[in-house]
C-alpha cells in the first residue's frame, strides 16, 4: 500500500473482461526524498472517483481485489482505496503545499 498522487487516466478498448467498466488512473508513488530515483507510475483501478492531482492510498494484491467486492480473482492488482483529506508526514512540506493548493 502506498501514498501517491493521481497524475493521469488511461483508456483501453481491447482488454480482458475483468477490466471492463473500471476507471483506470495513473498514480505516482509519493517520494519522501526528492532525490530518489524516478519510479514507474502504477495504473490503479478506481472505485471511488478520484480526480487528477488528488492524493490517494493505493492497495495491491488481494487488498485491491477486495476493494472491488469480494476476494475473487481479477486481472488487476492495484486499486485506489482512499482519497486523502489530510495527513501528517514528518519533516516534509508536501502535504502543506497540497492543502494550500486545495484550499486555494
Amino acid at each position: 500500500m502506498f501514498l501517491g498522487k493521481v497524475i493521469g487516466e488511461v483508456w483501453a478498448t481491447r482488454k480482458v473482461r475483468d477490466l471492463e467498466g473500471k476507471r483506470l488512473l495513473v498514480v505516482e508513488r509519493l517520494k519522501m526524498d526528492p532525490s530518489e530515483a524516478e519510479v514507474t507510475p502504477v495504473i490503479a483501478a478506481d472505485p471511488l472517483g478520484a480526480d487528477v492531482d488528488e492524493y490517494v492510498v493505493v492497495a495491491f494484491g488481494k487488498a485491491a481485489r477486495v476493494a472491488f467486492g469480494g476476494d475473487g480473482d481479477f486481472a488487476f492488482e492495484a486499486a485506489i482505496v482512499g482519497i486523502v483529506d489530510g495527513g501528517q508526514v514528518p519533516s516534509k512540506d508536501w502535504f502543506e503545499t497540497y492543502k494550500r493548493e486545495k484550499e486555494g
Binding site: G8, T13, R14, K15, D18, T40, A75, E77, A78
Partner: protein, 103 residues
Amino acid sequence: MYLATVIGQVWATRKEPTLSGLRLLVVQPFKRNHPDEASTMVAVDTIGADVGERVLVVMGRSARHAIGKGHDIGFQCAIVGVVDGAEIDGKRIGQTAADDGAQ
C-alpha cells in the same frame, strides 16, 4: 498494473511446460521523465498486442488469472489490455509513440 510499451517478442523452445503455447512479448514500463531508463520485462500476451503498442501489464496472481491456465503456471507477468490513449500530466499519450499528442 503498469503502463508499458511492447518493444519486442521472444521465442523459447526449451521452457517450463506450463508456458507452452503462450506468446511472450518484451515490454518496457512507462516512465514520466526518463522513458528510456526503465528496465524491460517479459509478459505473456493475453489480448493480441503488437510491437509498438502501449499496453496494460499486471503482475503476480492477477497475471496468472489473466493467462487463464489455472494458477499453477510458471509465469507472473501478463498483458491485459491495449491502451487507446492516456492523459498524463495533462499530456496526451497515444496508442503508439507516433500517436502522442494527437487528440
